[in-house]
Subunit: 343 residues, 2 copies
DNA sequence: CTGAAAGCGCTTACAG
DNA sequence: CTGAAAGCGCTTACAG
């Protein structure tokens, strides 16, 4: 009905200038303004339930108190968990967040970045797909504040908050080796993304540190576009044949789920026939008699730190912060110590 | 570096007024503007990669081409799926979306609505928690365009797009009855929300239509705040005791997951010992030898329709649209026909 | 201590 | 057919 009250409405009602009202409501020049008039202004603002028009504020200040968030796919549980933590942290700081899904498509991601920037977001949180280096470099040259989330490019000197993927995978494989498993397979994605490469490196280094070299046939890199089918095939190959593995590690939550599904289908018993370590937690874990050991990412902390760093960068876009958070290995029933006889 | 080009920059370069440039770029007064100058304006705009400042536009037009979306919890797969479909539809129409999670808390939800409105969103998509009637009524009086998503209040004449929950549950129970099950339990939430009540009504009516009355002990309404524990208890009670059920229907995805988990823990065999019908699809289903029969919601269509309706309402906030979408029962191995002997 | 005035970047009713 | 001018609702450098 009656349109929203503006600064002018308050000013008129009190016979003062809009400037004065603005100063009071923003707590500027506090000590130079009469106490009396200040309280009366605040009172009227309250009465009218005054809410500043963010568009006008934004136009003037070039700040919108809005953050842009780009994830791979908001419908994916991992992305959704990231988003939730970003939302909470942003809200606490008085920011709202606009989101978009890149679908792992660099063209769509670039487009999304432009759209969000066009909406005058103050800064961006991006979990980038492969192939975004050029766009991100441009962004940096424009001094647009952004921080990468979950993924980053070693070739780019940008802010990021990600998992220590190398350590995460190293730790998982080391756990299996110390538990007496020696034929360890890895199911990972065939992708250029650095964080996946790091997981692979962790796997290989852990093996080497135990004086084992990895067989090529034990490292399965599946096509992300055809993950379910290829994972099934990878599992089949790993568990059958002349030299079947005695343990499998998965390098992502989707791979874990697809892998477990195939193992059940093949009637492979966990852990009797095969030890398993998953990546990330899934609803599905709770359904196992032997709940899987898994690599736990500090998702909330990742988002929280990234959001905080971004907020800091708003005032100093050149202050680069790079954070690698440690993963936690949650040891459960799918990877028990091997008896000495078998080892 | 160099700041973003404005209308003025284009105008100056061509020695025309900003007004002319604005007209051309917005395709207003098309036929009344010289072709020559129009093409030159467009050319320069392209060269400078002109992007209109949305804040300024918004201030002037009171339209931001931004939608607000409030879900229960963006980290919940169902909410995330809703969000994704909203995003896609909005993007196609040139809108972006700001989101927030209500955590099923009406106070937080109201707060969120105010924040989003304050950000000048053009309209709201809301999956409301219980107890939002008053706030929504106020919203309606202010002629703020909004459409409810997934949930709605029968007492309120507002736009909404939701599942036909009554039909969904009726259909599921009818399927079990026709398959020869007669002792059917329901695990639902103890909540004031209408959509849950409708699911309960579907259950009861289906039983009545088959000349069966429901035992009170077969309808378990668990506390949403303590769902895991109470579902486990409900399952224990339903499957043991003097009159155990021969089938269980769940009224939500969380309940389904918690229920399945408990059934596995109790070594109840599905479907040999117990038939099961779940609500919504879950990753976890793929892990079952006997994949569960479940009620499938048209999540994407729900969001899509809601978004379209909202977009329509932007120009006519009083045009109320109410849509109840049909659910689909996906019959799988967890609810096979009972042999005649057992029935 | 207070306020008039300019201006952020647009749109559009109005005048020519 | 074209453009000067007002104004959306704020903020802030500047003048008193």
């Amino acid at each position: 009905m009656s349109k929203k009250p503006s600064l002018k409405d308050i000013a008129q009602r009190l016979g003062v200038s809009t400037a004065l009202v603005s100063y009071v409501l923003n707590n500027k020049k506090e000590n130079r303004i009469g106490k009396e008039i200040a309280t009366r202004i605040r009172q009227v603002a309250n009465e009218l339930n005054y809410q500043p028009n963010r568009m006008a504020q934004g136009l003037k200040t070039n700040r919108t108190r809005t953050l842009g968030l780009i994830v791979a796919d908001i419908a994916n549980p991992f992305s959704a968990a990231l988003a939730r933590a970003v939302e909470d942290e942003a809200e606490q700081q008085g920011y709202t967040v606009i989101f978009g899904s890149s679908d792992e498509n660099p063209a769509k991601c670039s487009q999304l970045i432009d759209t969000l920037l066009n909406r005058q977001v103050d800064g961006l949180l991006i979990a980038p797909p492969a192939g975004m280096e050029a766009k991100l470099t441009t962004l940096q040259q424009q001094r647009t504040p952004f921080v990468l989330l979950d993924r980053y490019y070693p070739s780019l000197h940008t802010s990021y908050v990600a998992l220590n993927n190398y350590q995460a995978m190293y730790h998982a494989v080391d756990h299996l080796l110390s538990s007496g498993y020696h034929r360890i397979g890895l199911v990972t994605f065939d992708t250029a993304l650095f964080h996946m490469a790091e997981r692979g490196r962790g796997y290989l280094t852990a093996l080497r540190d135990h004086d084992l070299s990895a067989r090529k046939s034990w490292l399965k890199a599946v096509d992300p576009c055809n993950a379910a089918v290829e994972t099934a095939k990878a599992i089949r190959e790993l568990t059958t044949g002349a030299q079947p593995v005695d343990a499998v590690v998965f390098a992502s939550n989707m791979l874990t789920l697809a892998g477990l599904q195939q193992l059940i289908r093949l009637h492979v018993r966990i852990p009797d026939d095969l030890a398993v370590v998953g990546f990330d937690e899934t609803d599905a874990y709770s359904l196992f008699y032997a709940p899987p050991t898994y690599i736990q990412q500090p998702v909330s902390e990742m988002s929280q730190q990234a959001t905080r760093i971004l907020l800091d960068m708003l005032d100093a876009p050149d202050r680069i912060m790079q954070v690698n958070l440690p993963a936690k290995l949650i040891v459960q029933a799918s990877s028990p110590p091997q008896s000495v006889v078998n080892s």
